[in-house]
Symmetry: C2
Subunit: 344 residues, 2 copies
Amino acid sequence: MMKMSDLGEFGLIGRIKRTASRLSASTVIGIGDDAAVLKPSSLRRELVTTDLLLEGVHFDLSHTDFYSLGWKAAAVNLSDIAAMGGIPRFCLVALGIPPRVSVEQIAGFYRGLNTLLRKHTTDLVGGDTCSSLQGLCISVTAIGECEPSRIVTRSGARPGDRVYVTGTLGDSAAGLEILKKRGNVQGRKTRGVKLVDRHRRPMARVEWGRALALSGCVSAMIDLSDGLSSDLSHICEQSRVGADIRADCIPISSALQSMSGSLPRAPLEFALSGGEDYELLCTVRPTNVRKIQSLKIPMTEIGIITPGNILSLVDDRGRRKTLSPSGYDHFRGDRNGRGSLWKE
Amino acid sequence: MMKMSDLGEFGLIGRIKRTASRLSASTVIGIGDDAAVLKPSSLRRELVTTDLLLEGVHFDLSHTDFYSLGWKAAAVNLSDIAAMGGIPRFCLVALGIPPRVSVEQIAGFYRGLNTLLRKHTTDLVGGDTCSSLQGLCISVTAIGECEPSRIVTRSGARPGDRVYVTGTLGDSAAGLEILKKRGNVQGRKTRGVKLVDRHRRPMARVEWGRALALSGCVSAMIDLSDGLSSDLSHICEQSRVGADIRADCIPISSALQSMSGSLPRAPLEFALSGGEDYELLCTVRPTNVRKIQSLKIPMTEIGIITPGNILSLVDDRGRRKTLSPSGYDHFRGDRNGRGSLWKE
């Protein structure tokens, strides 16, 4: 194991530069100067998003490997670009590295990061590296682009719009639960490994977000980072509407279904407030429902946008209860008093 | 004093959004969606840079107020845009906030940040806020723009070029030294307050960098964040040249000169390896020297670019010694074995 102090700051920057994802002619100057120089598309709008991932708050190194951490740091940001209907183009990463972390671990982080970036033809164009006296600190900025008329915000939902989600929900939070109980989970045949993988290496739904935006059928969109109830409440607040969500329509994976007996909460609860699934939540005008279905994206209709500002969960007998945002609030802990259980 | 837990994550985001610097018609969507939506200039290249500032590594809250910290976080990034010859346009800020930090302190941080951003007509368009279990963690991304033919990199210096610096050097490091010895320093008449101010609230030399770039006379440029010897070595490495620096030409402020008796190191030493002055270091072809002087920018010729790869310091009797990069290496500490003295 090589220490960071043997390699030095400028040695590290040299290594990062040599292995960086670099695919686009739009990257005029990448890593190594005071700033990256990019050639943005003149016909498209630019999308920019930044996220901070802190050890002990967003991840626990006792059950996350560095490759997965790099992958996830990229995925979390590309997911935000996907949720606007955009194409990711460029990425910058700043790391605060504690002395206990080795050069090999940091190399693993960048391998994971670059693997996801290359998958989405996104260039690593810059960043920063420094020492951290406390935990590992990761900051990622992603830059994407989208045609002006195709950008999907959170504020376009109208009463009557149908609510859709891609993929299945709750897997990531259930995976985290398994990791916390068992520690490291490895091997393809291990029970729960599918859920753990969804937690450690989430997919950014870039192709789906792009197809949805290009279809012109989506009135509002957000990625599911905090949990369905919380992220839906952002769309409802910003669109000034409410929503009725049908509990029995929420898509649960067979992996989560089959593990439900050995988990402390029901699959539906993981799906509603779990977070970190990085699936897309969107609303669709009723007249566009057939067109959306023809896109062949794995997505499920889970409810309808209503007037007013109430989010309700409706069960299979038509009974409704208020759905309060139960995702993680960083300064309050979970609103149900669960502390930092959900978003570690 | 209001606790962050009383305001909550989304209460904080609302406050940040209401007070954010927002001046440009190019900001299509600012804070509040999955990503900011920007309309970049179609004729210019885009410049992007990111920096991480960590408590205990880059700043010490026992002698930095939050207003100054916000100011400095912005200045450090705009300085990188200035060093490329660009105009800053947009900024994103991510904060990891420990529970002991109050809402008022965070409000102070954003006041300082927005003050500097407004001064440079730069919009705060996005960011992230989360809790931190350890120190305060600040990540800033700045986006600027520059005409393709006017971008100044680190790699264009040639033998014979003259070396210039703007302003005076060493003040910031001397200011930090005073803060460490005396703790908080306030009041306009306090001895050393000018030096302390330069440490706490550095200026980003945006107008100067821009004028230098537009003049077409500058062959390479970098901002002085790590210290003259270290930052000059970046220009020399990337341009594959050396440099002779004349010790008696390095500009020292009268404030630093007058304090030199009560400081542990000589002014020249602060100037060579102090860092955090955020002045501009640039190289100029001999034929352009007269034109550069006509720009009326306060700048000083301090040496000449040489063939080879040696950086030398030449004294007033013509004696030379090798100038080794003595700025702060984040993973090694200072190369002179001074630990983290210089870049706190």
